[in-house]
Structures are given as C-alpha cells and as structure tokens.
Symmetry: C3
Subunit: 182 residues, 3 copies
C-alpha cells in the first residue's frame, strides 16, 4: 500500500523508536524483557494508533517482521546502552529523528486512506508522538513531547509541508524530502 520511499522511512522510524524505548528501559535499569516490551511498544505504538483511528488493518498484525525487528533492536540496545556518555542526549536526538520520519509516513498513510489534509496532518503528529508518549508513561516519566514542545512543532511543520506539497500535485518523493527537511 505504501510506495517504496515511504516504506523505507516507516522501517527507519520503527527502528529509531525501538532504540529510544530501549534507552528509557536502560535509564530505569530494567532487565532484557523490559527492554523488549518498551522497545516494541515505542516502535509500533504510534502506527498502531494511527491505523486503528483510520479504521485500517494494523500494520504489524499481518507482517511479523516488524515485531521481530523491534525485538532484535531492543536486544542490541540492551547490550549497547551503556556505551554513550549521556543516554538522555542520544534519546532526544533519536526522538527528533523518529518524529521527522513518522510525521511524513503517518500523513501519507492517512492521505492514502482518503482523509482530508487537516486530518492527515493530525495523523502525522499522532503517529510521530504516540509511541514516545506510551514509552514515557510506561517508564513513569513526563512525556518528552509535552516538555519539549519544539519537537511537536517540528513534526507538525513536517507533516503540514508534506501534505501541502502532496495536495498541489508535487511528485511524492519530492514531498517526502521536503517534509523531512522541515
């Protein structure tokens, strides 16, 4: 259903968010099962909510590769999380990267499902932020998106630019590039 460029971004977003879930698990000194849970919930949470709200089949239910990827990434994070000097700084950077990726793919998926542009932008923001919100609520931290609103603003701008360009008939690849750059 996705074209290739959006699918690649979607995979990258899932991986990036799974790493951030692992980093929060590391900060909370959980064991490897906690890593797997938080990493998977963060990686697929945003997209799951998007698909449920759109009334579409949830993207990972018939594609187990997403789940396996999240588990593998969480396990790798488990063994590598002690390496960076400041896990929180890495977390913030990856969170911003994941937001940029998901705001575009979330909006794209909504447009493909036939929604109008306003709702598509909202879906981009939901997809981009909800995985991190689950992660932070489960890890008992204040959600990053609520304390660092700059990230949400960026996601909003990215999704808005992408949707606008898609609407005016620009090639999809160009729109994706612009949405990511914003």
């Amino acid at each position: 259903m996705f074209d290739t460029a959006a699918a690649v971004l979607d995979w990258m977003g899932v991986i990036v968010f799974a790493v951030t879930g692992g980093l929060v698990a590391s900060r909370k000194q959980m064991d490897i099962v906690g890593f797997a849970l938080l990493g998977t919930a963060t990686g697929i949470g945003g997209g799951s909510l998007r698909d449920v709200l759109l009334g579409q089949p949830v993207f990972w239910v018939h594609e187990p590769a997403y789940l396996v990827t999240c588990l593998v990434v969480s396990a790798l994070t488990f063994f590598a999380a002690h390496l960076p000097q400041s896990r929180y700084v890495v977390l913030l950077w990856l969170d911003a990267l994941g937001l940029a990726l998901f705001c575009v793919t979330g909006a794209e998926r909504a447009l493909l499902a036939g929604t109008g542009p306003t709702v598509a932008v909202a879906m981009g923001v939901i997809t981009a932020t909800f995985g991190g919100v689950i992660r932070d609520v489960l890890g008992d931290e204040i959600p990053v998106v609520l304390t660092r609103e700059i990230y949400v603003t960026a996601a909003l701008c990215g999704a808005a630019v992408f949707v606008t360009l898609s609407q005016v008939g620009l090639g999809r690849e160009a729109a994706i590039a612009a949405g990511l750059g914003a």
Copy 2:
C-alpha cells in the same frame, strides 16, 4: 447519524473538554503547542475510544471541523487561562459539565450502533471519562475521575436515565433532557 439535539450536545462537550485540556496545560505552564495537544486530546479522546470499541468509523476522521474547533478553543484558552482566580475550580466545573454532555451522547451513539442497554451505559461513562483521563495522565496528575468519584457517579446516572427512557420509548429529546438533568 446523530440527530440534531445529540449533535449539538456532542459539539458542546468537545468544546468544554478542549477548554479543560487547555486549563491543565496552563497549570503545567506549557507553551501554545502543549495547549493544542492537550486540548485536542481531551476534546476528542473519549469519543475516539467509544467509536473504536464500537467498531464505528472514528467521528473526527472524516470531519476535520472537530479538529479545527479543538485547536481554536485551545488557542483561546491559551490567551484567557490566566483570567480566572482559580483555574482548578473552573476545571472541576467544566469537567462536570462535559461529563454530563458526553454520557448522554456516548450512550446514544452506542444505542444507534445496536448495543444493549448495559453496554450503552458503559459507553456513556467511557466517552465521558476517557478524555479527562488522557488529559490527566499526560499532564502527570492523578485522574480527576478517580479522586472525585462523584463525577463518575453523575455520569453513570445520567447515562442510565437516558438509556432507560430511550428504551421505554420516550421521545429522544425528552430522554436527553432527563439524562442531562440527572
């Protein structure tokens, strides 16, 4: 799908809850993006969960006016939130008003979807309480509905009265009025 009276109540409920979301954002000293996020999530959260559980299309996905309204109301709250002497008292009153509105429209929507009366009452309570629960979990407060159970009791009574009157064949408008009064 809704008749006119229920639609008006639904709109009022969305607006009232969006204001309460903005008030919590104000208490947490968020910026305007935080207001928009919390206001929108609070305004449409309860109805979204109701529609997903009922297997119905989510009410705002093909009706962007709901999203736009939440954003506008959140922005107005951003500029007006410092005016009342006690934001918490205003919050409690508006929460009670929104509960009364949504318990009726939630139960109505469930009956229209063909559920039995018990489930319709439960859907009324879910619609009425879930937006506020999202708001309080995101804002890192104890949910109002769990510490002030009197509100839930009121929502429960309102939904029960409405469903009972609907079942015995009373005119819908009269049932709505009675459900609100309860």
Copy 3:
C-alpha cells in the same frame, strides 16, 4: 468463536483481573465507584486492546455479561478487600494467575483471526499485560509488569508453548494445558 475450554479460561481471567483492579482501588482508598471503574477497566482492558488490534468486534460490546460480572466482582472486592493481611501479595499472585490465563486465550484468539505464530504470541502477551498496565497507570503506580519482568517472561513462555503446540497439530485442549503449565 472460542471453543469451550478457552472461553472458560477467558472468564476466569476477566474475574481474576477485576479482583486485582479492586485491590489497587482498595490500596488507594477509593470509594465503591472507583472500585467498579478500576475493576472493570482491568478485567476487560487487555482483551479490548487485543480485539481492536486484530480488527475483530470487541468481545464485551455485544455480551453485557462481561460488564456485569466485572461490576459484581468489583463490589465483592470492595467488601472483602480488608480481609487479607497483605493485599499486595494477593495482588501479585492473582496478577500471575491472570497473566497465565490471558496469554493462552489471547494467543488462541489471534490464531483464530488468522495471524501467524509470532503475532499470536505478541497478542497473548498484550492481552495478558495490558489490563494490569491500565490499572497501574490509572492508580498512579509503576506497572507491575515493568518492575517484575518475571511475570511477562512467564506470559511469553506460556503463549509461545501454546502457539507452538497448536501449530504442530496437537489437540487444542492439550496445548492449552501445556501453555498454562509453562
């Protein structure tokens, strides 16, 4: 849709989790409405998320008996919660029991919906853990599943054993028994 054995386990799981919801309400000194809310949300939360993700009708929406059972069990817990010496120990034991029950029925339901084995195991874990997560987030506690990962590991093993045995064509009842024992 369920065969008889799985249906019995499902009912037992709902009841066990409703009791744990009531125990948390008791620890937080809520009144009887708080008991009903937390008990019901805990009892039906995991299965609701499973059904929504699978795109199936939510199991309790057309079967009000589940709701009524949760309410009755919560009320009984309200009057009996002061009896055990340590509510927290009872809570942990019941949580483990509920996890074992739901990981099997969740995986079974996913297989019946036509998912592959990996996703079925994930659905077992989701069904088993999500009700408790809702309970603990609403009760403002750190979720038990994240601090006592041994429970999730048990749920994972139970679901995995059940799915493996189902796949190799073992009789369903034997698979259920093995999944519970694991």
